[in-house]
């Protein structure tokens, strides 16, 4: 038996692009590693302190804090749901305008795309700072910041899922003499529904975690309590907060798994 091995290319050698895509990143990483100051010593000496912190977490929970925790967690979840719902309503038309095959004009497509990437350029926390300084402390600036960034992402996701829709159905509609608007409604959107649901569930998950730290800048939710507990070394509360965030994120994850299965299985038909 001849044990010569070849790649499935005309000359039997690996394609140049494949070699480059492995060699280049390694080269870049090697060259830049020193600039970010990765020091093994630092990590090594920090270990005992990390251990210390973890040990401190093993304390009796502060049960008196429970009602406030519940209230703040509820606020966090409400912020997430409100911001996401608001963002979906706003990003639907923007996403359609930002899809190459649905946009009424190439310029509108370009401008909407640029607007969306501008919104995405800054993280929630920075937008929250902007809104807190304009509107004062509270959940409202947090919701606004969160839904703004979500519009940036959701709009892009919607546009991309519309762009990959099968063009045959669109052609089938256009041949009946309907308008572009009607072909968006009846051919593009129904076909993009599974993708929409996928991105929506991912964004809900992401937004819950984002909402839980917005309190850092005074924009509502559990984040403020978490930062205060950290600063005051209030270990009785830190553990409770971390656990409750974990519990809710996990719950949401399970829920979205069930939902996604149904959506793909076709139970959630557009009509």
């Amino acid at each position: 038996m001849n044990l010569s091995w070849y790649w499935p290319t005309p000359n039997g050698k690996p394609p140049t692009i494949a070699i480059l895509s492995i060699v280049l990143p390694i080269a870049v990483l090697t060259l830049t590693a020193s600039t970010v100051d990765i020091s093994y010593n630092k990590v090594f000496y920090a270990l005992p302190r990390m251990l210390d912190f973890t040990q401190n977490l093993w304390v009796m929970p502060d049960w008196q804090y429970l009602p406030q925790l519940g209230e703040k967690m509820l606020e966090t979840v409400e912020m997430t749901l409100l911001a996401t719902a608001l963002a979906v309503v706003i990003s639907m038309p923007l996403g359609i305008l930002a899809a190459k095959n649905a946009s009424p004009h190439p310029w509108i497509f370009r401008m909407t795309r640029d607007l969306l990437s501008f919104i995405r350029a800054l993280p929630e926390l920075v937008w929250a700072l902007v809104f807190v300084s304009a509107l004062g402390l509270g959940a409202l600036p947090g919701i606004m910041a969160l839904s703004l960034v979500t519009v940036g992402f959701m709009g892009k996701f919607i546009a991309e899922s519309i762009e990959v829709v099968d063009s045959k159905a669109i052609e089938g509609l256009e041949a009946t003499g309907c308008t572009k608007f009607q072909s968006i409604l009846y051919a593009m959107l129904p076909q993009a529904v599974p993708d929409f649901i996928g991105s929506l569930l991912y964004i809900l998950d992401h937004n819950l975690r984002a909402a839980s730290i917005l309190g850092l800048v005074g924009a509502g939710g559990i984040g403020y309590d978490m930062v205060m507990a950290m600063r005051l070394f209030n270990y009785e509360r830190i553990g409770m907060i971390a656990l409750s965030i974990y519990a809710i994120v996990t719950f949401l994850d399970r829920l979205s798994d069930v939902f996604r299965q149904k959506a793909i299985g076709g139970i959630l038909n557009a009509h």
């Binding site: 099968d166 045959k168 159905a169 052609e171 089938g172 509609l173 256009e174 041949a175 009946t176 003499g177 309907c178 308008t179 608007f181 009607q182 409604l185 009846y186 051919a187 129904p190 076909q191 529904v193 076709g266 038909n269 557009a270 009509h271």
Partner: protein, 259 residues
């Protein structure tokens, strides 16, 4: 005056490929017309020029007294049904909605936005589904149906437009022989009973001879045959298909450009 007339129609694709060369045709209303020719001969282009899905680059197409121009595409399409090789249904919508799509051209954007249709449209859609014998599948999802059934939904959608003309672009090329015959019989029946003109692209000469009133053949963009099924002799067939085989081998990329 003929129901459809094509005068010196040319089609050149942006890549420079000339798919239709000086086509002159007159078609009477109510006829069943088969278009034959090898792959890449311009059959699909011819049909797609008639409803401006691929507008002709030169020449004049007149349907029912209206000459096609950039402004009246939608108006013409509203009463010209089209049936596709790949059915071109919206898979995730149910059969009824797919048929109601044929009514959209008559409906406002506002009612479309809410997926609302008047009772009249449901009656038209139901009649169309009864015509293709799929009324029992009205509320199934389109992609749950077999190929032959999906093509019949495609025909029902065309019927819902209440058309005077149906363009069928290789409607049986993706179907098995049994479903193919069903679809052809159905189109023939629609033509004979409702007087709807049907122009159909086919690969099978035998089917064309069996069902059509008139046969047109294209080869490399030229109109090479136009006559009754009886006039399409074996010698003529060899002429239609024979000469192009060489051309296809000489210019494979052009054939791919518009297969």
């Amino acid at each position: 005056m003929a129901y459809i007339s094509l005068k010196a129609v040319h089609k050149t694709y942006p890549n420079g490929y000339c798919a239709l060369k000086n086509i002159n045709l007159n078609i009477e209303a109510g006829q069943f017309i088969a278009v034959l020719g090898p792959s890449g001969a311009g059959k699909s282009t011819l049909l797609r020029a008639m409803n401006a899905l691929d507008p002709a680059t030169d020449g004049e197409i007149t349907i029912d007294g209206v000459t096609l121009n950039k402004k009246n595409y939608r108006k013409i399409r509203a009463h010209v049904g089209m049936v596709f090789q790949q059915f071109n249904l919206v898979d995730r919508l149910n059969v009824m909605t797919n048929v109601l799509v044929g009514r959209l051209a008559e409906r406002s954007w506002l009612s479309s936005l809410f997926y609302l249709f008047p009772k009249m449209d449901y009656q038209i859609a139901e009649a169309a589904l009864r015509e293709v014998d799929l009324l029992d599948k009205a509320w199934s999802r389109a992609d749950k149906l077999s190929g032959g059934q999906q093509q019949r939904v495609g025909i029902a959608r065309a019927l819902a437009q209440q058309p005077k003309l149906i363009l069928a672009d290789e409607p049986i090329a993706s179907l098995d022989p049994k479903a193919s015959e069903e679809v052809l019989k159905l189109l023939r029946k629609i033509c004979s009973e409702k007087g709807i003109t049907i122009i159909i692209n086919l690969h099978q000469v035998e089917y064309a001879k069996q069902y059509a009133d008139r046969i047109i053949a294209l080869n490399a963009g030229w109109l090479v045959f136009d006559g009754s099924p009886e006039q399409l002799t074996k010698a003529k067939q060899a002429e239609i298909y024979g000469t192009t085989i060489e051309e296809i081998h000489h210019e494979p990329e052009l054939v791919l450009a518009y297969a």
